[in-house]
Amino acid sequence: MRKKTIMWMVFVPLLNFAAEPISPIPQLIPYDKLKASIGEKLFFDPILSKNQTVSCASCHNFTYGGADSLARSIGMNGQTGRMNSPTVLNSAFNFAQFWNGRAKNLAEQASGPIHNPVEMGSSRSLIEQRINQKNEYKKAFSKIIGNRPINLDDIIEAIAEYEKTLITPNAKFDLYLQGKMKLDPAETRGYALFKRLGCASCHNGVNVGSNSYQKFGVIVPIERHPHTDDRFEITHRDYDKNVFKVPTLRNIALTAPYFHDGRAATLQEAIRIMSRHNLGVNLSDSDVNDLVSFLYTLTGTIPAKEGIR
């Protein structure tokens, strides 16, 4: 139901821009205020990790566009994870969660890091025990669930509800799509290239990506690490190796380093790798710069840490 609403809110504005493969982020997605306010607390609370040092925000930091600044995130006790942290911002628009889409919605995703020994290493029983001892959570949850003890599903639901509020509307490009702003020449050229080169074949939709699985290294293959969470891990089909959920380009200016293993430190590098490996094209510097200018217009209003809108 939530996805449907989200998609619907996206689609209506899209009607105005039927020709463009990108649609603007809506101002608001409907969410449950009560649950979201608790979710916000939980999102920033390291109580959800076994040794109480890691919270969701540790790897999904608003300063870094909802991700972190590492190639691969570091979890509990300094352990390095397998993948580069995807952004939490606008994750409500993803058609699936995780690099290989193994979680079908935000709630399912939230369960992952919680249980992952490398990330937060906790368990249902531990979390439930701790949360039920905290009066502020008991009081807050009692308004929703009454007097029964809080369970992990309530917690996850609250976090998912909060994540719905983490959208970044009013990016320059969105305003341009809505006819409220004009792009400058470099940005215009960049967008034209974006389409003509075929970037838009995979990076489209409201989240400029995140709506299909595509191969990384179509023309020029990319080596596959043995511990990669790609589609092959799910389907075990050879041709699914290095096939990932297309990441979003929203706020891409903030979420370096790039790609599933964080191999590209800068946007220019990332663009060159993409065009070389996936399109078989060597771009000129000016083309790269134009594309960078365009990508910068995809940065929207980052939500504040406190205060649910």
């Binding site: 139901m1 996805k3 449907k4 998609m7 619907w8 996206v10 689609f11 899209l14 020709a19 463009e20 493969p21 990108i22 649609s23 058609f95 389409k195 003509r196 075929g198 838009a200 074949s201 995979c202 489209n204 939709g205 409201v206 709506n211 299909s212 699985y213 595509q214 191969k215 179509v218 023309i219 020029v220 041709y239 096939v243 996936n278 399109l279 078989g280 094209v281």
Partner: protein, 699 residues
């Protein structure tokens, strides 16, 4: 009486059940139709959404700049609709097979979604390659020199390969892949000095390889999508839905049939009860034949009706003697027999018109011979006794009256009454002259007068003087009851005796007479006689009153004479005897009235200690012409003398009789010759002053 609540209870219960059923039915069918509509719509929506999805997927294959959110959104929509259907309570409860089929559909749809994702992966890649190839081709034309045969051949190869690739993309021709491998090899064999040319070749080869690598997946994704079994699964679900729906519909149908049946049966019940109650109104409960109401109804419809009234004589006795249950049995048996008899006559209907009265009604023009029927009935009951119970039988005595004059029942009843005590006949026909109607009218008038007289104190005693035949002087008076009507006419009580007895005012009358006569006579010295009947004597109130009056007027008792009818004295000997003893103790005298009329019994007279004998009028009237009477009187005188009993002769109306009686030695005389009854006036001197006649010489 029990039948009434039971019927109501049945009707009410049936009504309540029907109402409850109806309400239930309403809710059920409404629910059913809404749900059916809903489910139908939902299934249609899912099918439609899937078709839309197919279109969107196709579009994304055709168009270059596609927003893939549409695909995702439409997949999501189908999931939502499916979920709504699967979790609907109604579906889960009433359509288990459909639910299973829906689960199948979900599985098959999820597979389709996976195919779509696969397609998306292959499609985007191939699309890009498809976009690039023409560009490279175009570029190659400006880059390469067609003059150079080597380069020319390359261009041809490139063009050919690119074209066939683009063609087979749309035709999904897998064959193409085989030749493609060769062509890639061919192109790879080309080398150029110009790095730009080499780069172009490389780019072409790279894109061709993309094609080569991704086309199988592209093709199989499309083929999978084409052959997707989702439609079948959905059709299956729909099939089960209809099948299960049918059984629900059957339930609705059978329920509605049930309701119709219930409605019809309650209608039938109502009609039945209506007819029954209509019938009941005109049916006699005990015997099952028609009742008075039925009789009246039919009478109104006939032109010239004839009523044969059949009455069981002295039926009340059977009831009293054998009990009401036996009486009922007799009535039922009588009704049955009469029914059998009347059945033989078309147009004759039988009714029970009263307690022991039955009526046969027919049209005069039907030509039925009522006399014949009468005879048959009489014979039937005369021949065959009627069972009172299993052991006892009795032969009923029947009276039959026929009337053709309206009002039928009243006239026939009148006729019947007139032969009630006639033992010789039991069949009579009412004739116009029998106006017993007037009798009834007179009775009512007389009763009215009586009541008025009592109320307004117009019952007064008259006194008739009785003279001594020896001294010719008035010795005593007889008290006779008189009623004065409103207009002043004086009637004797005898005129009213039947209505007095009927209205049970007899004791009142007697007591009134006694009180009044005592009041008038108490301060005279005359004896006076009061007539008492056995009823009066048996009435303790009256006797008590007499005693009270004695107490009121001391010394009046010795002047009181009580006259008693001899026939009554004979019949109720015991009571009379006790009374006489009592009264004699007060000093009263007792006279026997109408002595010598037939049942004279000297022994009784002596035993009862009678003081006075009043000779019967039959003896006195025409005494001068009746020798036998003289003889009888002489005998009585002789007896009376010896028994020390006085004798009084009544109805003396002639001088001759008076003198005769004197000679015979009767003690007193009374009669019109001596004086008519009238209000009390004391008389002194010989009676001749009364009549105004010449005084006879004293005896």
């Amino acid at each position: 009486m029990m039948k009434f609540p039971k019927k109501t209870l049945i009707a009410l219960s049936a009504g309540a059940i029907a109402l409850g059923g109806l309400i239930n039915f309403q809710l059920f069918t409404k629910h059913y139709f809404i749900e059916r509509q809903n489910i139908n719509e939902q299934l249609n929506e899912i099918e439609l959404a899937e078709k839309k999805l197919d279109t969107t997927v196709l579009r994304s294959g055709i168009f270059l700049y596609v927003n893939q959110d549409d695909i995702i959104r439409q997949i999501d929509t189908i999931h939502t609709m499916l979920h709504a259907l699967e979790t609907s309570e109604h579906v889960r409860e009433s359509h288990p097979q459909m639910t299973r089929a829906l689960a199948q559909y979900r599985k098959s749809f999820d597979r389709k979604a996976d195919y779509i994702y696969d397609f998306q992966t292959a499609n985007a890649t191939i699309k890009n390659a498809t976009m690039v190839l023409p560009v490279l081709k175009q570029h190659s034309l400006s880059l390469f020199n067609t003059a150079n045969p080597h380069e020319r051949r390359f261009l041809e190869n490139l063009s050919q390969t690119a074209n066939s690739v683009l063609l087979s993309k749309n035709s999904l021709d897998g064959e193409m892949l085989n030749t493609l491998e060769l062509r890639i090899g061919e192109l790879e064999a080309y080398t150029f000095d110009d790095p730009a040319k080499d780069n172009l070749n490389t780019a072409v080869i790279e894109n061709l390889k993309v094609f080569r690598d991704f086309f199988p997946r592209y093709k199989s994704a499309i083929e999978n999508l084409e052959s997707s079994s989702t439609q079948n699964a959905l059709d299956n679900a729909r099939k089960y839905f209809y099948r299960e729906d049918q059984s629900e519909l059957m339930a609705v149908k059978s329920f509605s049939y049930l309701l119709v049946a219930l409605y019809m049966s309650s209608l039938g019940l109502i009609i039945y009860f209506l007819i029954r109650s209509e019938k009941d109104v005109v049916t006699d409960r005990l015997t099952g034949i028609g009742n008075r109401k039925g009789f009246e109804r039919r009478t109104r419809t006939l032109n010239e009706p004839i009523l044969i009234l059949v009455n069981i004589n002295k039926f009340k006795n059977y009831n009293d003697f054998y009990g009401v249950a036996s009486g009922d049995r007799i009535l039922i048996e009588t009704a049955n027999r009469l029914k059998q008899i009347t059945q033989g006559y078309r147009g004759a209907t039988l009714y029970r018109l009263g307690g022991d009265e039955f009526g046969i009604l027919m049209e005069r023009s039907s030509g039925i011979h009522y006399e014949q029927i009468g005879r048959i009935i009489t014979e039937e009951f005369h021949k065959e006794p009627v069972a009172i119970n299993s052991n006892i039988e009795t032969t009923l005595s029947i009276s039959i009256a026929v009337s053709m004059h309206k009002p039928l029942l009243e006239t026939a009843d009148m006729a019947l009454k007139s032969i009630k005590n006639d033992r010789t006949r039991n069949l009579i026909r009412y004739e116009e002259g029998m106006n017993l109607y007037d009798g009834i009218k007179t009775n009512i008038e007389k009763t009215h007068e009586l009541f008025e007289a009592i109320k307004n104190d117009r019952l007064i005693p008259y006194f008739q003087p009785i003279v001594s035949l020896q001294t010719s002087e008035v010795a005593k008076y007889e008290v006779l009851g008189r009623l004065v009507t409103q207009n002043g006419t004086v009637h004797s009580i005898g005129h009213y005796l039947d209505v007095v007895k009927e209205s049970k005012l007899y004791p009142t009358l007697t007591r009134r007479m006694i009180q009044k006569s005592f009041a008038i006579m108490h301060d005279t010295s005359y004896e006076f006689s009061i007539n008492l009947s056995i009823e009066d004597i048996a009435d303790s109130e009256t006797v008590a009153m007499i005693k009270r009056e004695f107490g009121r007027y001391p010394q009046i008792a010795s002047r009181v004479v009580f006259e008693i009818l001899e026939s009554e004295a004979v019949n109720d000997y015991g009571k009379i005897s006790d009374f006489i003893d009592e009264m004699k103790r007060y000093g009263c005298k007792i006279a026997v009235d109408d002595f010598g009329s037939g049942y004279s019994n000297f022994a009784h007279i002596l035993n009862l200690d009678i003081d006075i004998i009043k000779l019967d009028s039959s003896l006195i009237r025409d005494l001068n012409k009746n020798h036998n009477a003289i003889m009888i009187i002489e005998t009585i005188i002789g007896f009376a003398l010896r028994a020390n009993i006085r004798t009084v002769a009544e109805y003396v109306s002639e001088k001759e009789v008076f003198e005769l009686l004197q000679n015979l030695g009767v003690d007193y005389a009374q009669g019109y010759y001596i004086g008519k009854p009238g209000p009390f006036e004391p008389h002194n001197g010989p009676f001749c002053i009364l009549s105004g006649e010449e005084c006879p010489e004293s005896a």
